[in-house]
Symmetry: C2
């Protein structure tokens, strides 16, 4: 008997009809002889509505109170889903984060899971129940409710899977899995059967919204095998796991585009030691996340420094940097929100050279100008004009032949003694 | 510095604007130098909406899950009200029933408060906070959330006032207090300054909806002084407390009508011992609350037995009683939903005779026929036609002169050494 943790997002449980469908899906998993722990998000727009209500009484609501308020969404959702399971004759019980033994650290609105005591969950699983846990929340050391921030329910699911030593953590969504590119942009984008944690992490930070980085990191750290799959249809999704020898042999796993970034440029910065450190120290202190940084030293001893930040952070970045412009005697500061970051990701890059060249060549052929470049061991990102992003993604998808399923490694066809040895 | 527990019902906190007004009211109480613990109901129709949602997925939702679901309404409400207090610069913190230390027994949907550990509330009061507690809920010994049933937030408020030894428990409502009769029926009904626990209990069970019997009983048992008052305007309400010598000298405190009752009649019941016991044992076993019972033994050795039940219980009563009709060889069973119970209540009855006579005489003068009568030490109830109820109430209100404020007892004018001695 396998133990599955299944996570259903807000759009999968938006109303009573959705709840019944999800309950049916859980019953199928149960009937197949598996134990099931379900993690559920708040129904549909509940969280947004609660935030809206809070803002009506206070422009900047207290974070502890916001957590108490928002957590009710997932609590209600878990009770309703449990009732829907009962209606199908499935034994089930709902649990708040606290009842599920989820302890978090004290930072409200972005708490981190510290420890899970799965005693109560085990007890009810042993009694044959499906356990439906309210996602996104836990209790801190002051016995207050704290929520986990964006994508928090995914993290709850992965953490529970780790604590329960579940066989798999399934993230059920309104998409069929992880694709080689966004299918709305690339019609022949292909659903991946498998992807490594590292590739998934790079895709997530490159703009893919399928999974939150935090949940993937957690899964990687605890060796939890994730499966991203459809909540509407029963069919295999995409497995996210450690790289294994028998995995498909590919150089590029997928392509992502991120249009939520803006480019900030400090003009005419004197090229003296410590200037860059000064700038990015201030940004870090203000909790502004900087993604890419480019600096070219000119002959005249002055330089332009460009970096990208989230579009939402433009105003804050301006507040932080403008006082510095004078101080470091720079010529000025400008923001360009009209950019996109396009990234290609794949572990195969590690052992293949010339990937960057091919990427740049494809874009050059299309007359797409590259403004910034950054690379990691398994990723190449370029910043281009926002209006050219879709064309860039389609061209790269075609050039790297991503719509064609890759050859399986010979090792996979007949893996006699090797199936359990993972790298 | 006095400590007040204030309870605000759902219609007082129906939306953001109401929340702001309630916050203002709490701030005024705080500014007057008092400590305040607030108990709050779910906002407006929240509870009904949650029940509706639950029914969409299950015709008879599990009670534990229903409790988890419903409790979220009060949790959300307490967080929002706390934010509204913050917006006015009032230090405040919200608490779930559990955080407030409210322990209940294990019966879901109608749990009873067993114990309150006010450690955390005291801690925050000492720090100068207003503590906003989610009403209607507590934690049972299985660490599950259980709710207190109808009027549960009133009970939470009274229980907290008892545990905290508060100076007063104020129930803020959309009415100004307890009236001599329903002002919608009797235009010159008068707001009472004071009423005894026992009178309030009789009025509640006689159909007055101002306070739930359970909260009043709790207040009586723990000597908590209640004040029913307007949540819209700042003015004195009605004090509910132990009878004291200096209280207003009245025979009749108030009149209530209850149109939610139906009369069941078992016709032609053989007048043999044990028959009545048999009937009411079955009704009790089915949890059907019987209010009045009348039986007249006829000369022929057969009798009609009539009793009143809530209109909602008619179908259930029929299911329970119909099999008995044959068994006890009765002639038949009929239900009459078209009745009303009209009651006059007052502690003064204990020492005044002739009250029942005056009541019956007033009704007879109006040609209102009395079908059933029941009395307690401080109450007389009659069952009449539903259509005559309003006229009966108005006539009795006039005949007993209830719109005229009573003389105060001389003892009250100058109560030198007696103010603290309560009977």
């Amino acid at each position: 008997m396998a133990l599955f943790v299944q996570k259903y997002g807000g759009s999968s449980v938006a109303d009573a009809a959705c709840m019944r469908r999800v309950a049916q899906r859980i019953q199928d998993t149960r009937k197949a002889g598996n134990q099931v722990v379900v993690v559920v998000s708040a129904m549909g727009d509940t969280t947004d509505n609660l935030i809206g209500l809070a803002r009506q009484v206070h422009p900047e609501p207290d974070e502890r109170e916001m957590d108490s308020l928002l957590a009710t969404g997932e609590m209600a959702s878990s009770a309703i889903l449990t009732m829907a399971l009962h209606a199908l004759g499935v034994k089930a019980i709902s649990m708040t984060g606290q009842q599920a033994g989820i302890k978090v650290d004290g930072i409200h609105l972005k708490a981190k899971i510290q420890e899970i005591n799965p005693r109560r969950i085990h007890h009810h699983l042993d009694q044959g129940c499906v356990v439906v846990v309210a996602g996104f929340q836990g209790m801190n050391s002051s016995e207050d409710i704290a929520t986990l921030g964006r994508g928090g329910s995914d993290t709850t699911a992965v953490a529970l899977a780790a604590a329960l030593k579940a066989d798999r953590c399934q993230i059920l969504k309104d998409v069929d899995g992880v694709f080689t590119a966004n299918p709305r942009v690339v019609p022949d984008a292909r659903k991946l059967d498998e992807i490594t944690y590292d590739e998934m992490l790079e895709l997530a930070s490159a703009g893919s919204e399928v999974l939150q980085s935090r949940a993937v990191e957690f899964a990687k750290n605890y060796g939890v095998v994730l499966e991203v799959m459809s909540s509407f249809e029963v069919k295999p999704g995409t497995l996210v796991r450690e790289e294994v020898e028998e995995m498909e042999q590919v150089i590029i796993r997928g392509i992502a585009a991120d249009k939520n970034q803006a480019k900030a440029t400090l003009l005419g910065v004197p090229d003296t030691p410590g200037v860059a450190a000064r700038i990015f120290k201030e940004l870090a202190a203000a909790n502004i996340n900087v993604d890419m940084i480019v600096q070219n030293v000119s002959a005249a001893g002055i330089t332009d420094v460009s970096f990208t930040v989230a579009k939402d952070d433009i105003a804050k970045t301006r507040r932080v940097i403008e006082p510095l412009v004078k101080e470091i005697r720079a010529a000025g500061l400008n923001f360009d929100p009209d950019i996109a970051k396009v990234s290609i990701v794949g572990v195969g890059m590690k052992s293949h050279s010339g990937v960057a060249y091919r990427m740049f060549d494809v874009l050059a052929t299309r007359h797409i100008n590259i403004e910034m470049i950054s690379t990691s061991e398994i990723k190449i990102s370029v910043v281009i004009r926002a209006g050219e992003a879709d064309e860039a993604v389609r061209s790269l998808h075609g050039a790297f032949n991503l719509s064609v399923p890759p050859r399986k490694s010979p090792a996979r066809r007949r893996p006699p003694a090797r199936t359990k040895s993972r790298k």
